[in-house]
Symmetry: C2
Subunit: 166 residues, 2 copies
DNA sequence: CAATCCATTCAATATTTACTGAAAGCTAAT
DNA sequence: ATTAGCTTTCAGTAAATATTGAATGGATTG
């Protein structure tokens, strides 16, 4: 396979997969492009490479910055901004997990907390409370497990955790 | 909080969150409804409760069945089918993880495998290969970690894993 | 074997989500 | 103070996804 073909395929795959990872397609493509870029790139270059509008490029670059998946890279004497991707995959994974936890788990934990305040004593109420309680227990556990994971470093993950889980 | 209000809130929350969990809103709402239903429900009841069309109810029920999150429950003497949800949250989580792994991780592993076949020796090629290689390593590890997790039972998770990770 | 009762499918439609392009904002150079 | 270079915003539009409802299929009953 040719390099250019490989690059293209990588960007395409990352983009498609991104959708199911809670990252929109373009955002994932910009990320992919920067991941495999040998040098920092400007908005203009990103926009041209991916054939997207300036506005779109800008918005997704901002989003990636706010997720901490890419960084600004200022070149002396250049007015425009350049961007580079975080290349340590463990860091990348952590940042993605962090965002997803915030979006997918924390609101659940919060809602369950509120919902557990149902009153009453009938059979139906008891059943409802049980489901909510079980779920609350489970999501709290997952939440703290993830928190610990986020604090852990790569070696720990690759070493201890992987060995243990096997 | 009243029971009815709690139920409604639960269905709403699960539905909204579902979207970010790779499950569409209605599918998640049907699931929520069955999770807190004290009895098995028919398509018709589900449809009426959630104010959705018969076709929509049917499609999402099929999807939930195929995910293994709900089961058919045949009542003797009744012609129509009833449905009940899996209520063990550990099982529920495993089924969801299983599906998401299939959709979000396996295609990546497969694509990276193909992409690693890039040829050439330039600096750019080397860099590209490195990113792909790192990513491949990482996603393979995650994949087998999840596989092990799926085989593990609830007690193991709650016990060993939680203790270790704390 | 016709009628009924459910389940299923799918083209048309509605809803949600993402993208574009033009306009406005900033900042630095002249 | 004006222009030029780049970034940001956002209303309108386009694309992707989900939902409806009517038609079809199958099975059971009288």
């Amino acid at each position: 396979m040719e390099l250019s073909e490989g690059k293209q395929k990588f960007i395409e795959t990352w983009g498609t997969l991104g959708s199911s990872w809670g990252i929109n397609r373009t955002m994932a493509q910009v990320h992919a492009l920067l991941l495999i870029a040998p040098e920092a790139m400007s908005s203009k270059e990103i926009m041209d490479d991916l054939k997207i509008s300036l506005g779109n490029a800008n918005m997704n670059i901002r989003a990636l910055l706010s997720w901490g998946l890419i960084y600004k890279h200022l070149v002396p004497g250049e007015r425009k901004e350049f961007f580079v991707a975080e290349k340590d995959m463990w860091v990348v994974a952590k940042k993605i997990i962090e965002q997803r936890k915030k979006k997918e788990l924390e609101p659940l934990v919060k809602a369950l907390e509120e919902i557990s305040a149902v009153e009453g004593t009938g059979k139906e109420t008891e059943e409802f409370k049980k489901v909510v309680q079980d779920l609350k227990l489970f999501s709290n556990k997952s939440n703290s497990a993830l928190e610990t994971l986020l604090k852990a470093d790569s070696n720990w993950f690759v070493g201890t955790f992987m060995k243990m889980i096997k």
